[in-house]
Symmetry: C2
Subunit: 200 residues, 2 copies
């Protein structure tokens, strides 16, 4: 008889089986994640964390605004609340003394970014900060191509407000008018290199 | 007999009594509000609204971060959530191309602002944005004096980090090192005039 480490063959077998099951599940999860492309928001956040830790910039995600209706004050627990529309962009902060403001958009399309996901308040907000001298842009992730582009907000605003326009921007235009953001390990998205190049 | 307009004296009397009661309540409310001093946060918000409408600056209050635990997706209703600590300041934005960041603090004390209400994350955040070239300050409201002061964040940071210090700043120091913010009707708090004077 084989000399099992703890002398209980059944226990060892069931433990190995469990381990194998977990490993298979993990493998599947990784494969799914790879097919799905990156988690764009997460990639932007960890890039900002890196830039902060390197003391290169301070860019912060704004919390999602939430309308609070009921609070159980004895437990400081919110028991009824609703998501509200973000009336600004998702990210803002400071870089080289300048105010930076941007919005991230993601699309599965290989051919264009539709504007249906850009609320008009976001466009108004961007116009407002531009008038104050902000650096403002969109980071657009084409997940099927796994490509991220930085496009200056004035380009998107012009398209958005073009009454004859298609309410979208094609990948060709994005490539021509925007800038491919290099992806790496750390920072995940080297978007400040583009900011350096085009705004300073 | 007096000729009541609708011919029903009791109804007129009770209606007048109701009106008088409401008026008294309203008077009491106004008096209470006056004694309590202004609603500081509201005053800052309406001042920012005015500056935005005048296209002079874009300064926005960050939503309170909330940790969402349970959501009823059928109704898009949040059913369990908790308040999280703000790890930044309450306000940021853009003015004359520069990044602006500030925190509002209120005290009933006539003699000093205690730092017990300033979390260390806020100090870290301010140090971080200062290193990137931000304009960063505190607006301090001494409600018993009905006076608002703008104090540069570096002054507060130094005091905060002084191990021998009193963990507070006295009204005398605030008056000597800070700047009294003029109050008015519109904008309610003319704090950008101080910003113009000391940062540009």
């Amino acid at each position: 008889m084989i000399n099992y480490p703890n002398g209980k063959p059944n226990k060892v077998i069931s433990s190995l089986k469990q381990e194998l099951d977990a490993s298979k599940k993990e493998k599947k999860k990784i494969a799914n994640a790879a097919n799905r492309g990156m988690d764009f928001e997460h990639a932007v956040n960890v890039s900002n964390d890196f830039y902060r830790d390197e003391d290169r910039a301070r860019i912060i995600k704004r919390p999602t605004p939430i309308k609070i209706v009921k609070v159980d004050y004895s437990k400081m627990k919110i028991t009824e609340a609703y998501f509200e529309k973000q009336s600004t962009t998702d990210y803002n902060g400071v870089y080289r003394g300048k105010y930076i403001d941007f919005e991230c958009k993601e699309t599965k399309s290989k051919t264009s970014l539709s504007f249906h996901n850009i609320p008009s308040q976001q466009i108004e907000h961007l116009k407002g900060v531009l008038r104050q001298g902000a650096i403002a842009f969109f980071l657009i992730y084409f997940s099927s191509l796994d490509e991220v582009y930085l496009v200056d907000s004035s380009i998107i605003i012009n398209r958005y407000e073009d009454k004859e326009g298609k309410k979208s921007i094609s990948i060709d235009e994005v490539r021509r008018l925007g800038h491919l953001v290099e992806q790496g390990y750390i920072p995940r998205l080297k978007y400040l290199d583009i900011v350096d190049k085009i705004y300073f």
